[in-house]
Structures are given as C-alpha cells and as structure tokens.
C-alpha cells in the first residue's frame, strides 16, 4: 500500500470511529435535557433519576467523542496537506467557526452541568445542558457545511489549477457555502439520524431494564422506553423524508453517486430499484435480483417515469469534461452501504413500534426477545449512520472535492508510508482498546439501573462535599 491508500484508510477508520460517538452526543444531550426539564416542571423524582442515569451514559460517550475529535481536525493537515492548501480558504472557515461557536459552548456548559448541580440554581443548571445541546447542533451545521462543499462546491472561484501545484479554490460567497443545497438537505437528514440513535439508545436500554427487572423502577423505565421509541419513530420518518429530498439533490449534483447506489450501468427510463442482488455488481447479469419497478426513478427525481442516468454514460460524459480517467466509485461498497443504511434504519423503526405496542397501557413486557431487541436496537441506527457516511464519502470518489480535486491530489506529498503506517497502526490499536473499555463501562452502568434521586441542594456552605467529583 502507498501513502495515499494508507491515508485513506486512516481517515476512514478514525472518522467512522469518531462518528460512533457524535450522533449519540447530539441526540442524547437533547433527550437528557428533556428528562431534566420533565423533573424541573413536575418535580417527579423518576425523571431526575433517569436524567442521572442517562446523563452518566451520555458523559461516557461524550468523553470518547472528545478524545477522538482532535484527530479529525489535525489529520487534514497531517495526511491531506495538499487538500488543505487547495480548499483552506473555504474549508478552514467553517472549521474555525465550529470551534469558536460550538466547541466552546459544548465544553464550557457541559462542565457547568456536570459539576454545577450544587453550584447553580435549578433553572440555570437546566439551561446549561440545553445550551450545550445547542452547541452540538451548531457543530453539526458547520462541519456539514464544510463537507457539503466537498460534495457540491459552491461560492468559490478557481485561482490556478491543482495540477500545477499552486492553484486553489477561493471563497467568493460565504452565503452560498452556508446555503448549499446539499447542506440544506443533509443537515436535517443528519440531525434526524442523530435522534434515531438517541431514541433507540434510550428505548433499547429502558426496555431491556423493563424485561430483565420488571420489579425495579418500571414506572421510570416504561415512560423512558416509550419516549425513546417515539423519538426513534418520529426521527425515522424525518430521516426518510429528508433522505428522499437528499436523493433528488444528489441525483442533480452527483448523478454518478445515485447510479452507483443502484449499480445502474445503463441509462434507464423508468429505472427500477433492487432491494437485493446476488451477483458481482459489475454490470453483468446478476444471478438473482429482487426488484421494485420504477422506484429508483421516484427516488432520483420524484417521478415514476423519470430517466435515471447510468454509470457507463456518466463515465463517458465525465471523460469528456474532466479528461481521461476512471470516474466510477467502488460500486459494491456504494450499492451495499446504501441498502444497509436503509435496512438498519427501517428495522430500528419496526423495533420501536414493537416497544410502543408492548408497553401500551402501562404494560410491562416479559418477552425475552424484547430484551435481546433492546440490546441490538441502539446499534441499528448507529450503524445506519456509519453506512450512510461511508456511502456518501465513497460515492464521491474518485474526487476529494467533486469535479475540482481528485483524491490522489490531496494527499500530503511529503509524508512517508512509514509515517502514515505508524499513525494508522497506533490509532487502530488505541481505538480498539478504547472501544473495549467504553463498551464495558457502558454495560456496567446500564446494568446498575437507576441511581438514587439524591435531589441536589444548592448551598453556599464552603465545607459541603462536592455534588459531583471525578
């Protein structure tokens, strides 16, 4: 493997890994804030206990997000320095703004929330977690603005060409970057995706507790399970609708990605959507394929009769526009990740509906299968998020910035195979170990069940013990 390939693997591994923690942080911060609000409004202690329980799990997850987050900002420069030179004028701004507007909010107000139970009045303390949540949403917006530029560059002009080593893209319209149509559809899709993860997390853990320990805190875990399931299903619907819009924008700005999502080689009108294929996906006749007629036409254009461009004709067109080269992404990867994203999300929604049904009218379910479902449920939307991003990023290949900068032109020219290999190995080993630590910790605290309510007392007593300490 050369440095380019290693750098791509490193970006993929570190980013997918980091993104295991991000959606849960964004979604769960809001759900925990909601639980604390319920306690604040009703004074019912079960909501305080749920706040503390899910708050603890949230913080374990958040710590992993911070730990793996700095790598993200650094590796653009470390492994992708020519990319950084090429897009820095545009790409750097949302990153810097993300730090200034979002990360400071998140970190400061979470610190206040974690340690401030006995220092801040209840309303002010509650405001802290809401402000921190707001920070996470800001963060999503700005980083998606940066990514959307890579999918659909707007608001720039080219100064020189990347090929001569001096060219770069320069910002001409920041408004266009922040109203990029890819951003406008991706942001809601991602936020709904985050709430699916958080809803599934809360519902799964709560229903597991309900089935396993029906006599322990069922009056708290039942509403939690239902709250999580409702969030999961509503967010699931939102994800579907926003995803549908996204598909149409994608077809417009990156038609090759849509063709690759279906492994559609020849232009088709109308175009079917295959739910499942046994075959090589290289354009040869598949051994078996389960097809829904006309569905791809609808996904791509909102019309069951629309034409959808195929890989071969787009390849021919791109050769004309961009010169000789292979402009096809990795088709099996795009084809299968697209389907796994949809399937994992849909199965999670069905499981959410099952949980709602099983807990209807204050019922406490006793089915073992529901407990197993509870264990698997948090992973489904989480992996759907990963698959979605692997699809989006792999589907953009061979471009780093679509139509402007090929991936191979962005890699750091000076870094060696030994350097990238060392860092890839180091991150993989460390991240693997941390995954083990994190999962064990989460399981320990999930099994423990709800902590005592221990209502916080705001006091000026200089000698009172800390309400929370490391």
């Amino acid at each position: 493997m050369d440095a380019l390939e290693l750098a791509r693997w490193q970006f993929g591994i570190t980013t997918v890994y980091h993104f295991f923690f991000v959606p849960l942080t964004i979604g769960l911060s809001v759900l925990v804030a909601g639980m604390q609000t319920a306690w604040w409004r009703t004074g019912n202690e079960r909501w305080l206990r749920l706040t503390r329980f899910f708050g603890k799990l949230f913080l374990i997850n958040f710590a992993m997000g911070i730990a793996t987050g700095i790598v993200q900002e650094f590796q653009f420069g470390m492994n992708w320095s020519d990319y950084s030179r090429f897009v820095g004028d545009i790409f750097g701004a949302p990153l810097a703004i993300e730090g200034l507007l979002a990360f400071f909010l998140e970190s400061t107000f979470l610190g206040l929330w974690i340690f401030g139970w006995d220092r801040l009045k209840p309303g002010l303390h509650l405001a802290c977690i809401w402000i921190a949540s707001l920070g996470t949403v800001f963060s999503a917006f700005f980083i998606l603005a940066a990514n959307s530029f890579m999918q659909n560059p707007v608001g720039y002009k080219l100064n020189g060409d990347w090929a001569d080593g001096t060219g770069r893209a320069e910002l001409t319209d920041i408004g266009a970057v922040f109203s990029n149509k890819v951003l406008l559809v991706t942001f809601p899709h991602q936020i709904f995706g985050c709430f699916m993860v958080a809803g599934a997390f809360v519902a799964g853990i709560a229903v597991w507790q309900l089935v396993r320990h029906p006599d322990r805190d069922a009056d708290a875990f039942r509403p939690a399970a239902r709250m999580g399931a409702v969030v999961l299903i509503v967010a699931g619907l939102g994800t579907m609708i926003s995803g549908d819009f996204q598909g149409k924008v994608m077809t417009e700005v990156q038609p090759m990605k849509m063709a690759a999502a279906e492994a559609l080689y020849e232009d088709a009108q109308p175009a079917p959507f295959s739910a499942f294929t046994i075959g090589t996906l290289d354009g040869s006749e598949p051994l078996f394929q389960l097809e829904v007629p006309r569905l791809l036409s609808f996904l791509a254009a909102g019309n069951f009769d629309a034409e959808v461009r195929g890989i071969d004709s787009l390849q021919a067109e791109y050769e004309k526009t961009y010169g000789p080269g292979d402009y096809r992404p990795n088709i099996p990867v795009t084809y299968w990740t697209f389907r796994m994203m949809i399937t994992a999300g849909a199965v999670a929604m069905v499981a959410g509906a099952w949980i709602l049904w099983a807990t209807r009218r204050r019922r406490t379910p006793a089915t073992r299968w529901l407990a197993y479902t509870g264990i698997a449920l948090p992973l489904l939307p989480l992996f759907a998020n990963s698959f979605g991003w692997i699809f989006t990023e792999m589907g953009r290949q061979p471009w780093l910035v679509f139509g402007l900068l090929p991936t191979e032109a962005g890699v750091s020219p000076g870094t060696t195979v030994a350097e990238v290999g060392t860092s890839l190995a180091a991150f993989t080993v460390l991240y693997g170990f941390l995954a083990f630590v994190e999962v064990r910790l989460l399981m320990t605290y999930v099994k423990k069940g709800l902590p005592d309510a221990d209502p916080p007392v705001v006091s000026d007593d200089e000698d009172a013990p800390l309400a929370f300490a490391y």
Binding site: F76, S107, T172
Partner: protein
C-alpha cells in the same frame, strides 16, 4: 492594520489562551505523580481542573481551525511537516482525556492507577512537545521552494527546540503547582507551594536561557523588551509565591507564559514558518494567507463571538471558584 496581521495576532492570542489555560491542566496532570499522597488527594488534584479542562483544550482546536482558515499554507506545512510529534501529542491527549473522564467510573484501585499513568504521561508528552514544536517554528525548519517540510523527525530535536520543550514542562509544573495552591486547602496546598518554589528555580534558569537564546537569534528592541518582561513576570510570580499569595503567584506564571508566547510570535513576524534553507522559501503572513474576503468574514465572526466566549468561560471559572480539600471529595 492589514487583516493578515490581525489574524497573525489572533492566532498568537489563541495560542496564549491555550498555553496559559492548558498549561496548568498539564501541570496538574504531571503533579498527580508528585504531589498527592493518597487517593483522596489525587482526586482533589484532578477536581481542581475537572469542570474546566475540556473548554481549555478547545483553545487548541480553535487555534488549529483559525490557522487552517486564515493561513492554509501554514496549517498544511506545519501539520504535515511535524507529523510524528503531532501524532504523539494526539495519542497523549486521547489517553489523558480517557484517564480524566473514566478514572472515577470504576472502583478498582488498579484501574485508577492505570488512569493516573495515562493522565501523567498524557500531560507530560504534550507539555514537552508543544514547547519543542513552537521553538522549531520560531527557529525555522527545512522548507523547500514548494513550502514542503523536507527535514526528518530528528531535525526537530535540535538543542534550541529541546530547551523550549524543557521550558514548557518546567514552567507548566510551576504554573500547575501555583494553580493547585490557589484552588486547594489543607496539606496538598502546602506541598504545592513548597514544590513550586523548588522547581521555580530550575524553570527560571531554563526560561532565562531560552529567552536569551531567542533574543540573541533575533535582536530587536521589541524582543529585548518582551524577553525582559517574561523574566520580570516570572520573578513577580516567585516574589508573591514567597509570601504565599497564591493568586498573584499564579498570575505571574500566567503572564510569563503569555509573554513567552508573544516573544516567539514577535520574533517570527512577518514569517509564519521560516525556512532554514532559503529565506525566499519562508512562509509569511502574505504568501501563506487566505484571501482578504475569507479573512474579512472570519474577522467579523471572531469579533462578534470571542467576547461572548471569554464572558461565559470566565463565568464558569467564577462558578467553580471555591477552593477544595480532601473533605470536599465525596466517597
């Protein structure tokens, strides 16, 4: 003032914020190995930075992001050129976060010991390497005509840069100890005070050598004045430490760290990364910068939001102003 200069100054300010704030975090982290005598005292140390360390670290992220946005060439050359030191810093920072956040999440003593090791190493390595990296930036490194770093890892380990690393480690230790003295009560406070006084001599000696070397490399009225100010601030801190005025002592090291950063940036300007091979190949505020349009937008954003950030971050320090001792640590 030109916007490129404005952003040079802003990035210097972000580094000052980072080094002053995370400087005592690193100091406290390293002191976990040196000051605490039992589990409760280790927890006292950790909880002095508990509510604030994360926001302190964000200064680094913003400094990095601002460099990317305002000086893409600088960001690209620096981060790809200093590959292995940055990798080590990243790994150390990851281990430190996990140590801090997960230490209390399990009851067993061996887990806590491993977390302590993570916190100590995770504080020492960045404390050392940031000094090495910043000194190298100021000194100049092999950069070719294309703005690529062409040296090796070992080129970064030159005597001047290593001295810079020793300065940051020793000064952060003193700074951290002053912070502990300011934030704690009881036995650990006394030990922090006497530790700071002992290490301060070494730190003062190393800092003086580094300042003299820096000023000798680039002797102007400004560097001489700022260099002198670094030493005066440090002595100011020590003077107050002698009388156990913890707040003023801490202010002294904070000022010294800030001024030392100013000294490096002033000796750098108008370069951002001088080339040791050929002056014409140096990255400067002009040839490494983003477009005026981007700089203008970034200036507006920074002007609008930086005061707000300072306000609420300052407020969080106010909320957690209380000194803590072993009796504050819950079981």
């Amino acid at each position: 003032m030109e916007l490129t200069t404005v952003w040079f100054v802003l990035i210097a300010i972000l580094w000052i914020g980072y080094l002053v704030l995370e400087g005592f975090d690193f100091g406290v982290g390293m002191l976990m190995a040196l000051l605490a005598q039992d589990e409760r005292e280790r927890r006292v140390l950790l909880n002095t930075i508990g509510p604030v360390w994360d926001a302190n670290e964000v200064w680094l992220l913003v400094a990095g992001g601002a460099t990317f946005a305002a000086f893409p060439e600088w960001y690209a050359t620096l981060f790809s050129g200093f590959y292995l030191p940055l990798l080590l810093i990243l790994l150390a920072l990851i281990v430190r976060v996990i140590g801090i956040e997960f230490r209390s999440k399990r009851p067993d003593a061996s887990w806590k010991r491993w977390c302590d090791v993570g916190i100590i190493i995770g504080s020492f390595v960045p404390a050392l390497l940031w000094g090495v990296a910043l000194a190298n930036i100021a000194r100049g490194v092999p950069i070719d005509a294309k703005g690529e770093y062409v040296g090796s890892f070992f080129d970064l380990l030159n005597p001047y840069a290593l001295l810079g690393g020793l300065v940051t480690v020793s000064v952060f230790l003193v700074h951290g100890a002053f912070f502990v003295a300011l934030k704690t009560t009881g036995g650990i406070q006394g030990r922090a005070r006497s530790f700071a006084k002992r290490v301060a001599l070494l730190a003062g000696f190393l800092t003086t050598a580094f300042v003299v070397w820096t000023v000798a490399r680039d002797t102007t009225a400004a560097t001489v004045l700022i260099g002198a100010a670094v030493l005066i601030a440090f002595i100011f801190g020590l003077g107050h430490a002698a009388a156990d005025r913890d707040g003023w002592a801490f202010a002294g090291t904070a000022l010294a760290i800030g001024l030392l950063t100013v000294l490096l940036f002033v000796s750098l300007f108008p370069d951002v990364m001088p080339s040791s091979l050929n002056d014409a190949w140096s990255l400067t505020v002009d040839n490494a910068s983003a477009t005026p349009y981007t700089l203008k937008i970034m200036t507006w954003v920074a002007a609008a939001f930086t005061p707000l950030v300072l306000l609420y971050q300052g407020w969080s320090y106010w909320v957690f102003r209380r000194r803590i001792g072993v009796h504050h640590i819950p079981a």
